[in-house]
Symmetry: C2
Subunit: 386 residues, 2 copies
């Protein structure tokens, strides 16, 4: 396999002018892509019809692995054939996305899924038929390639939106720059989209745990109160549903550094769902759960009991609506919640309360109640939901 | 004026346990709040009805200041009276928000507008009438207080959502931590919501300009290609419409360090609008334009001419819809665009093209075309829209 190349073999776009050195991970991913290509050429050489076996990304092919405690894909596949009128286009698109990933890896560059779409979009001459009509046609093909190549999107050199910041007693190296997250002021270190070991290495970690909060505004409160300094931890947020980079980083902080992950989320079905995604993975993207999910993550709050227990003022209650009630029941039925009495009680109490509570509701006690009393007490008592 | 206090005068929530030292800015803001309070008490002592003169935040009271080239509020005010059945509640809310800001400043703490809402929300005993029904009732009162006290929201110790990152040849000090933005890896320094001089100081700047891009995905491309190193600049993004912290930081980078600001935005009405907000300020928040807007900012692209000039492939065109056409015409009529021939031609060409172009469309040329050819050429030629 060529370690660098200066000329693109198809001239579709120019390669980087700098030869690049591939990381071991890049070598592995490229190996998968070459493997895929050689399967197809072997079929051609054998006079068989070219076809790909795409692992089925349907709910029926997703199950909860009780032992590993993550969502997992089953072994069902569907065939995608070149000589099949209804599949020829998606066959072409699949190999096109794989070839795009190959070129990105060889150039040592990354792009967004939007960038890849533009990079691959062109008319198939002499027709005026475009390779992709729109982004919506490209995205599922990218996911197909991820499962087909057993590679995370990040390993295909594709990045997602980034949002989410980190501060705390940890030093990391990001792309060769040493970053001391205990010296990041009020702004913090912006967690990138790709946090694979080839980009980010952990240099030194004194922190004993990670506190992950849902919102950047809550994160700002915890950072301003230097919570992470007093309690020797790492403080992260994901601006709502955490993006892939944040989830992967939590996974690495837990698995490589042994840090417990505590999540401070709203007391509502959306907060439960965020916890579920951090802990068990996302149903849509079950194939990446083992590297994206953190089954040991704990839910520290806000809890349905807190209105009374914390003596919050009446005004902080937000009434549940029908969607909330429906979502709460769905989540209670998730295989990883259905047998957990604590979670059943938690969700049931929210439904009986008839209201939800945001983390910011704790401000009604005092501006730093959440950082100085609420979280410290729960940490001390080890009072979490699992 | 007390420089610190350990007891809240009304016991509504506990003050910080640490006495704080007020910054000169905090002293000024507190002075405005005391001034407001003493106007009211003077009226009471004179047996007059307590009233506030609230500057009108309506379109009719906003004009474009040709000399300063920013949106400005006029001098119209409306009276808000305590002994007026329809105004009593908003009178109470206004003084309540001002007192909340006072307490935050005295504690040396900041909170989100959501936090302030929860902090101030309570039933007015013995009635069950809440001080605020919802956040929507609180937000305009916060804006009233900003104009009434001639203080930016940040000076009232309120922060907004933060999003937007920075890298480049600049060293800053954020809350006492020195941050070298040329050593921030792939993630970058996360721009906080409050970037006032009391929080952020510029320590050393070698950069010669700022490139501000619309999207974090484009920012990642520029950062990965180390554009800021090759071209000795600062690289920022605001994840779409830049939040207050990013706009204020651009303003400070320009006014205090003399850095030109170049904006790389989509070729569509939304991109034009973002430019307009960065340059002239937001119509809704015209009272803060002088400190939030940067009238010298330049628009570097993407331009309506670029499809042809850059030889982009057909597939990157996105058809204009009716909303786009309507918005484009509105923007062309803005007082700060209406006399600019270049802008009229630019918007007119987009309308005649019938399509818009995203920055990522440049990827159809090559993955680093935007960082290695497009922007460098325009910078070299000084080819901007003003």
């Amino acid at each position: 396999m060529a370690k660098s190349r200066r000329k693109s073999e198809n001239g579709f776009f120019e390669d980087s002018s700098e030869p690049v050195t591939l990381s071991p991970q890049d070598e592995r991913t490229l190996g998968s892509i070459y493997g895929l290509a050689s399967k197809i050429t072997t079929l051609v050489e054998q006079d068989s019809d070219p076809a790909l076996a795409i692992p089925a990304r349907t709910l029926g092919n997703v199950s909860f692995n009780e032992e590993k405690r993550v969502l997992q894909m089953g072994s069902k596949t569907t065939s995608r054939e070149l000589f099949n009128l209804s599949q020829a286009k998606s066959f072409m698109q699949t190999t096109l996305v794989a070839s795009g990933a190959k070129r990105l890896i060889e150039m040592g560059k990354t792009t967004s899924i939007r960038g890849l779409y533009y990079m691959l979009k062109h008319d198939i001459k002499p027709s005026k038929e475009p390779t992709f009509h729109d982004q919506g046609e490209c995205d599922p093909i990218i996911e197909d390639c991820e499962v087909l190549l057993e590679s995370l999107r990040e390993e295909l050199h594709l990045f997602a939106d980034k949002r989410g910041d980190m501060v705390g007693n940890i030093k990391i190296v990001d792309s060769g720059d040493e970053i001391d997250c205990s010296r990041m002021g009020s702004g913090g270190y912006a967690i990138p989209s790709i946090v694979e070991p080839s980009v980010i290495q952990f240099k030194e970690c004194k922190a004993k745990f990670v506190l992950h909060v849902e919102k950047n505004t809550v994160w700002q409160r915890f950072n301003e109160d230097k919570f992470w300094k007093k309690h020797n931890c790492v403080l992260t947020h994901g601006n709502g549903q955490p993006p892939r980079g944040v989830r992967r980083l939590l996974n690495r902080l837990h698995n490589e550094l042994g840090l417990p992950i505590y999540c401070l989320l709203d007391n509502d079905p959306w907060g439960y769902y965020i916890y579920s995604v951090i802990k068990q993975g996302s149903i849509n993207l079950a194939y990446e759960s083992e590297r994206m999910a953190t089954p040991d993550a704990k839910f520290i709050g806000v809890r349905s009991r807190d209105f009374e227990r914390c003596g919050l003022s009446e005004g902080v209650k937000i009434s549940l609506n029908d969607v909330d009630r429906k979502r709460a029941k769905q989540i209670a039925d998730y295989p990883w919640f259905v047998h957990k009495k604590d979670w059943q009680r938690e969700i049931d109490l929210m439904l009986r309360n008839g209201f939800k509570l945001e983390v910011e509701a704790l401000v009604s006690r005092s501006i730093s109640y959440m950082t100085e009393e609420y979280v410290p007490r729960l940490l001390k008592e080890g009072d979490f939901l699992d």
